[in-house]
Point group: C2
Chain length 370, copies 2
């Protein structure tokens, strides 16, 4: 198995560790910045490293459509292609197929859908997803799962977790590049504890190098997210990395770290940056707001990111109002740094065995409207 | 006078020098990257420094409209506002008024026009332009001139240079911040030698800290540009910096350096970057071109820019096809570095007194279609 996970400290159920991959070691718990098309929007690999990034995530669905996984393979894999050269993870493409594409038919064989770019008909199966992800060559990759809509009823989700289990087995069977790439299984089950339990059992039984929780943050209330994560993490093996997919808000991440989750990803830092919203420990700041016009303050006092060290809120407002590319770039630098620094603080709090008080205080502070 | 210009070497008529400003020293001849709205499109100050930039230009017309020069002044001037903190130059706003705005009326008093953003009516005079530029606070700034269309006849241009002379005098009279800002006069005269001579005399007589050649590269043939620049530079004082405004193509810059021009600016490196065109010593490269699809080569072999050290043409093509912001960013890094490196090579060639052979060889190489 090509990843190695070691836990060096715990605080309550929160874990501080190191995940070693063929492309380098990542301090956990960690956040993966999303580089959908083998590019984090507006940030070069150098800027990502300056923000403290140790790993990047890329999206299989998008890369399979453009520029195509075979081409990425020719360039030596996605990490080399984008000039990152560090650890990476790819998702299975499943989530994007269900959320972006025009689904024609889901059968036990796989999913027939139309590309959101040119409408061409495509067919994705567990075997095909694994093959594409092996071409992309990330250190970690995901089994192909079914993601039923967030409001699906019990019977629908119950059927779906059985298919997800069968697809997980087929993904594992199709996985050949075991030397360099580690496959993660995904636990589904919606908001139903019983189904989460059954799904967890079927996935854990397959003994993947790591396990993920999928189908969370698809429209539930924050309390529901917390409840599902708490319940599901308790079913997952201690010694393997736990990945909560696509979550999300800083508060949700802090709560999940408290339940022993090690890995996160979300488009929020870069997407919000493009919409002129910056994260701070005191909540979000709208950079287009008129009240920023004359502000000589940085986005966040005490932040060590390049944007906060270089420019004011007033200047950033000017960039957004004028439609300058540098607006989203600076905001992305800050937001990515904010997420990565939040996880840095979480790791220190775990090491010092004061995670619960740290997280409670941070969550309360963030949730005060500013 | 707040700038100091020293020539340390010559090669033919080409000059190698240092221009010292309140915000730092610039090696000449030099190219100024254009940061229209107090932002070079896609490049942070750190990226500009990494490209070797020693000075940035900003546009008075654009900044006066957004965010307004009074606001920029509140932030301590344009260089501090954008987090550059180094030497800067602003233009007078004249060129943009004539090329972008909807002109209502030009009188001897000034120019009445409508903003290209919201159609509001504005009135720009020499005094007003100086006042705005003093609020922007750049180390060097430009007298307000009249820029007749490139195809204007002799009589029109003859009248125009008289107005430009009167406006230059009024600009100088309005200039109060002489400690920190140096005003440059602008020589006009179209493609008519006689009018260039008369305009040069009237401007030089006013004894500005530096002199510029305006109204070039507004549609003439490259040979015409070269002829006007050669003729006009011979009329300009040796001991003061000479600035050829808005020019332009790398070949035109190299020819002008050979005629003793010290300062250049142009939007070409960043504008072409946004259109997926990269400059190389062997001509321009179209990064969207299908032939780049599988290319593992950098934009330009031997280039030391961050883009060439990090990513391939094939990856850049992918970014442009997918509409990723990083495409224009990487191309801008390369193009800006290309221009700055070209001037670095020119400076070395002057120091080694082999400028003519250097420039001839470089121009021939660039003009071979690739």
């Amino acid at each position: 198995m090509s990843i190695n996970f070691e836990i060096s400290a715990t605080s309550g159920r929160a874990r501080r560790g190191k995940l070693t991959t063929p492309h380098g070691t990542i301090n956990s718990p960690f956040f993966m910045t999303v580089g959908t098309l083998a590019a984090v929007k507006g940030l070069t690999p150098q800027m990502l490293r300056d923000c403290g990034a140790e790993i990047v995530l890329a999206n299989t669905y998008h890369l399979a459509l453009r520029p195509g996984d075979e081409l990425v393979k020719q360039f030596g894999g996605v990490s080399k292609f984008m000039g990152w050269h560090g650890p990476m993870l790819t998702d299975s493409g499943g989530f994007q197929v269900y959320s972006l594409a025009d689904i024609n038919k889901i059968t036990d064989e796989g999913v027939k859908f139309r590309s959101h770019i040119d409408g061409s008909e495509l067919f994705l199966t567990p075997e095909k997803s694994v093959q594409i992800q092996q071409n992309l060559g990330a250190d970690m990759f995901m089994a192909f799962d079914e993601c039923p809509p967030g409001d699906s009823d019990y019977d629908t989700v119950a059927k779906s977790i059985e298919r997800t289990a069968r697809w997980a087995k087929r993904s594992k069977d199709a996985w050949t590049n075991r030397e360099n790439q580690s496959l993660f299984g995904i636990i589904q089950g919606g908001t139903f504890d019983e189904l989460r339990r059954r799904s967890a059992e079927s996935i854990i039984e397959l003994d993947f190098p790591g396990n993920a929780i999928g189908g969370v943050s698809v429209g539930e209330a924050p309390e529901e997210i917390d409840r599902i994560v708490e319940y599901t993490t308790k079913l997952m093996p201690q010694e393997k990395p736990r990945y909560l997919m696509g979550v999300g808000r800083p508060q949700d991440i802090l709560r999940a770290v408290g339940h022993g989750v090690d890995m996160f990803d979300c488009v929020m830092p870069t997407r919000h940056a493009r919409h002129a919203e910056a994260f701070t420990m005191d909540g979000k700041v709208k950079l287009r707001n008129l009240k920023q016009r004359e502000s000589d303050a940085p986005i966040e006092e005490g932040c060590d990111c390049y944007a906060c060290r270089t420019v004011s809120r007033g200047y950033l407002r000017h960039l957004f109002i004028a439609g300058e590319m540098l607006g989203p770039i600076y905001a992305a630098i800050h937001n990515v740094r904010f997420y990565l620094r939040l996880l840095e603080k979480a790791r220190i709090a775990i090491e010092e065995d004061r995670y619960e008080s740290f997280a409670t205080e941070a969550i309360n502070r963030m949730e005060v409207p500013n």
